[in-house]
């Protein structure tokens, strides 16, 4: 399988990464290099094999559904590029 330039633009949009027109041919080439590298996997017989979900078998632990760590809103927004009154600020989403 391989990708074309339209695929590259679609993937970039799904990944929320802006790409300039002149980057697209180069990305197409690099992604196809990676896809051809993984191509050999299609020849492996995986009939009846379970996909791995946990590399080291362990029982998922449960805990009480309570607040364990709460630094407060000032601390949480401290690293935000922009915030106001302890809220994260983003461009207008709803008209």
């Amino acid at each position: 399988m391989s990708v074309d330039q339209a695929n590259v633009r679609r993937i970039a949009h799904l990944a929320r990464i802006a790409v300039k027109d002149d980057e697209v041919p180069h990305l197409e080439q690099e992604l196809n290099a990676m896809l051809s590298f993984v191509e050999e996997l299609s020849a492996v017989n995986v009939d009846g094999v379970e996909p791995m979900t946990s590399v080291i078998p362990m029982k998922m632990k449960m805990r009480e559904d309570v607040v364990t760590d709460h630094a407060g809103p000032q601390v949480i927004v401290r690293n935000a590029p922009t915030s106001e009154d302890n809220f994260f600020m983003v461009p207008k989403v709803v008209e």
Partner: protein
């Protein structure tokens, strides 16, 4: 007396206990060395004031006889460990100015045990790379001189773009370079596909990736969560054992961390390996492997045999599939983990026409080329219509890779000996610019271990004809890191301690 920065971690611990040196003196010596070595670019943030304050506190504890296992030991911390109030960016532009209000579990355990933080170490951006060239903060130079280079030529290159100087490997390149250049007594590192073991091999240092779940991942910037694991890089096997004991342990904040007691790994050093069964996997004898790598491997086999180990040929039939399968699983998990960088809650923000454009512009500017490429391939293999063909198939292959190891361990094999890397260190600017896959091949011997969640250690074992260090890798059974320390120390003793390069970079 030996210069304080040339001490091993174990020797420094003794010198501190017997009051031959104070923690402040030891830290000061490292702070000075770091300042003079800025050309190597191993540290991206230095914390000398914090270091000296921590050292003074250690001296007080040492005086009262309340020293922890790492009391007064100066360490470097890879930039992907969250350190409260200190630069934590996984060497990415997108985490600009991020200073967490929390401490990773691994580093908090190091400080609990008395260690001193010297600063944050350079790395490939989000740990994606094998040469430390993808860092937003620029490449790291190895302290090893390129073959036939004079010190003058190397010093000139340090001031310029560093091209031609040797890479320290990656992604823990800052950690490996700092340990080899004596800019810390040991460093934290992390390993998703070989990022501890490959740089250790390239720099003549020792690095261990413990079993998945041995160390908490809480507070480590995530790359591929089912593969990532913390571990140390240090100058001796014993030093790694000392550090791992403090780094490991159960953490309720990471459900994948294992609730099992942490052994005193240092006790495994010097244990006899007589009767241990060491597997030699025939699939690791790859096409085009340099003769000197094969010679090193044969030498390692001979050393272990001489120490009383039993050598058996084994087969791990799915070895060849591990690297391609990794380049599906790791980017898939990365595309998901790195979705959080959106310019809203932390780090860089680039304004856009609307919120979606803001995300896209921020992520285009904030992520470097390699990271963008991996997010995109990860997005593709998880997208509708391709998920089964790529991702599910790769996870099935992962089951097969793990089964290969389980089969040989069921036959009584205690550990597996392989080369650590397919070559010695290469030059900065030399690889991967035309074809990203060229760089990925560095991890051909290490990546199987992550795919199967096993422990692996890289230990220096010899040199190329040009005098560059080469390492061997030992792969162990799950949670049997102690065996790895015992066997690795036999190799270390047989090979003789590495003579690290003199500080030409000052």
């Amino acid at each position: 007396m030996t210069h304080p920065t040339d001490l091993t971690l174990a020797d420094a611990r003794e010198a501190l206990k017997s009051k031959k040196i104070s923690a402040v003196e030891l830290t000061r010596a490292h702070v000075d060395a770091i300042e003079k070595a800025r050309g190597l670019n191993a540290y991206v943030a230095e914390t000398p004031e914090q270091a000296l304050a921590m050292a003074a506190a250690s001296d007080a504890k040492l005086a009262k006889g309340e020293a922890g296992p790492l009391e007064g030991i100066p360490l470097g911390i890879k930039d992907l460990y969250a350190t409260r109030g200190v630069h934590t960016q996984a060497c990415s532009h997108i985490l600009d100015n991020f200073k967490p209000d929390y401490e990773s579990t691994v580093t908090s355990q190091l400080w609990r045990d008395g260690a001193v933080m010297l600063g944050k170490l350079n790395m490939d951006e989000f740990a994606m790379g094998s040469s430390n060239e993808t860092s937003y903060y620029g490449p790291v130079a190895s302290p090893w001189l390129p073959p036939n280079w004079t010190e003058d030529k190397a010093r000139a290159a340090l001031k310029g773009d560093k091209r031609g100087l040797l890479v320290p490997g990656g992604s823990s390149g800052g950690s490996a370079s700092a340990v080899a250049a004596r800019l810390c007594l040991g460093a934290t590192a992390s390993d998703t596909g070989g990022s501890i073991r490959q740089p250790a091999a390239f720099t003549g240092t020792v690095g261990i990736k413990p079993t998945y779940g041995r160390c908490s991942r809480w507070g480590m910037v995530a790359f591929a969560s089912s593969l990532d694991q913390a571990g140390p890089i240090a100058r001796t096997v014993r030093d790694c054992a000392i550090m791992l004991r403090s780094m490991a342990g159960h953490d309720p904040k990471d459900t994948t961390s294992v609730d099992a007691p942490v052994p005193d790994y240092e006790k495994a050093i010097g244990a006899s390996i007589r009767g241990k069964k060491i597997g030699i996997p025939k699939e690791y004898r790859i096409d085009g492997m340099p003769a000197e790598i094969d010679r090193l491997w044969q030498q390692g086999i001979a050393w272990l045999k001489a120490a009383g180990a039993e050598i058996v040929e084994i087969s791990l039939p799915h070895t060849k599939t591990a690297l391609p399968a990794y380049y599906i699983v790791a980017p898939a998990e990365a595309s998901s983990n790195l979705a959080r960088y959106d310019g809203v809650r932390y780090g860089l923000r680039v304004p856009g026409r609307d919120i979606s454009d803001m995300y896209e512009q921020t992520r285009a500017k904030g992520f470097g080329k390699e990271v963008r490429r991996r997010i995109m391939i990860g997005t593709y293999v998880l997208s509708a219509g391709y998920y089964d063909a790529y991702y599910v198939r790769a996870q099935k292959i992962r089951t097969l890779i793990k089964r290969d190891f389980e089969n040989v361990y069921a036959q009584g094999v205690d550990a597996i000996l392989t080369p650590a890397t397919p070559s010695a260190a290469f030059g900065i600017g030399e690889k991967g610019s035309a074809d990203p896959v060229e760089m990925y091949l560095n991890d051909v011997f290490t990546v199987t271990v992550n795919m199967a969640g096993l422990p692996g250690i890289a230990v220096p074992a010899g040199y190329t004809a040009d005098g560059l260090p080469l390492g061997l890798q030992l792969i162990g059974r799950p949670f049997e890191e102690e065996s790895l320390f015992s066997i690795a120390e036999v190799i270390e003793q047989a090979a003789g301690r590495v003579t690290l390069p003199k500080p030409w970079w000052n």
